[in-house]
Amino acid sequence: MIGALAVLLAFQLIGEVLVQLTGIPAPGPVIGMVLLFLALLWREELPDALRTTAQTLLSHLSLLFIPAGVGVIQYGALLREEWLALAVALVVSTLITVAITALVMRAFVRHRDGNRQDG
């Protein structure tokens, strides 16, 4: 487990360093993810420890957002003033985004399937 954690941190570190060196307009952890993915494709196997550690970490993904979320406490005044704009924008925009992404994607899945077979 420690070994797997070291692998994840090492790839994050490489990602952060690459971003600093090259100025790629992407965050370090995302570059780290891409690199780890490429490394796995190249090795063509997934070590068990890495699989378990990743699954443990990802099954508690929502825990990791709590500290930043509690930051809402700093914005009492702003929330009182603009709560309507914020609430409507968050809810409606999020729902539209889910719907558009799903509908567009399904249309293209069907289109592709339609080219191969009927239905």
């Binding site: 954690l5 994840l8 941190l9 790839f11 994050q12 307009p25 992407a26 965050p27 952890p29 995302v30 780290g32 993810m33 891409v34 993915f37 796995l40 494709l41 997934l46 890495l50 990743a54 970490l57 990802l58 993904l61 929502s62 825990l63 990791l64 957002f65 709590i66 500290p67 930043a68 979320g69 509690v70 930051g71 809402v72 406490i73 700093q74 702003l78 603009e82 704009a85 914020l86 409507v88 924008a89 968050l90 809810v91 409606v92 925009s93 999020t94 729902l95 539209i96 985004t97 889910v98 558009i100 992404t101 799903a102 509908l103 567009v104 994607m105 399904r106 293209f108 899945v109 592709r112």
Partner: protein, 242 residues
């Protein structure tokens, strides 16, 4: 007696241990409640935990920076967790490769919709320019969204809050919405949830199936990359930059 408790409180309040432990405890309590409610979406564990913690901080008069000095150890794990998304992606790579075109088209339309609709709706309802800029990257995972907000002139810490509320909305409402739209494919479900509601949505998508979770995780990474490119561009085109 009061002096003893006062002394213990002064010690604990200044050590990271207290709020780190409380955050974990509150999260576990939120999960327990969520499971007891039969996995009802309204009892979102993140929303429950944040509400409880905010109440606790207000009751004890604790500042956010004191809280965060303990909770930062959890916050830090967002980095390695983002890297770990490579694993479900690798496991489901065959499926992803076959769906490459739908993924790309879905991603671009979803990412554009997320940025433009958030800015547009808040603008219509009289949101201040700073609020609009802080909302623009709301569908992207926290650390990335904060970086984008900083670049386009929003408030990174406000963005973090918007990102998390977006995630909670997505986790609570997206499965029902997708059901209503008669989306049957778990890959499509997961990807749509991930584009709109990043990691908190992904936590929910993993409850649908690991396939949905994998596609949701893929969407987090892809949308982070695309929004990093699109958000500054859109802000410039709309003349929103401060």
């Amino acid at each position: 007696m009061d002096r003893i408790f006062g002394g213990i409180w002064v010690y604990l309040a200044s050590s990271p241990l207290l709020w780190l432990t409380v955050t974990l405890g509150v999260y576990l309590a939120g999960q327990w409640l969520f499971q007891r409610s039969g996995g009802r979406a309204l009892f979102n564990p993140v929303a429950l935990a944040i509400t409880l913690l905010v109440l606790l901080l207000l009751l004890t008069g604790t500042s956010y920076s004191t809280y965060f000095s303990g909770a930062q150890f959890i916050h830090f794990l967002l980095g390695p967790a983002t890297v770990a998304l490579a694993i479900p992606l690798y496991i489901h790579w065959e499926r992803v490769r076959r769906l490459l075109l739908p993924i790309v088209v879905g991603l671009v339309s979803g990412s554009l919709t997320a940025i433009l609709s958030a800015i547009g709706i808040a603008w219509l309802l009289g949101g201040s320019p700073r609020t609009l800029l802080s909302l623009a990257p709301k569908s992207v995972t926290t650390p990335v969204a904060m970086g984008i907000a900083e670049k386009i002139g929003g408030l990174p810490s406000l963005t973090a809050v918007m990102v998390i509320l977006t995630g909670v909305v997505g986790a609570v409402a997206a499965p029902a919405l997708l059901e209503w739209l008669r989306i049957r494919d778990d890959a499509v479900k997961g990807f749509a949830i991930g584009v709109a509601a990043h990691g908190i949505g992904t936590a929910r998508a993993f409850q649908i199936s690991t396939l949905a979770g994998a596609f949701s995780g893929l969407a987090i990474g892809l949308n982070a990359l695309l929004t990093t490119l699109l958000a500054p561009l859109i802000v410039r085109l709309l003349h929103l930059a401060p």
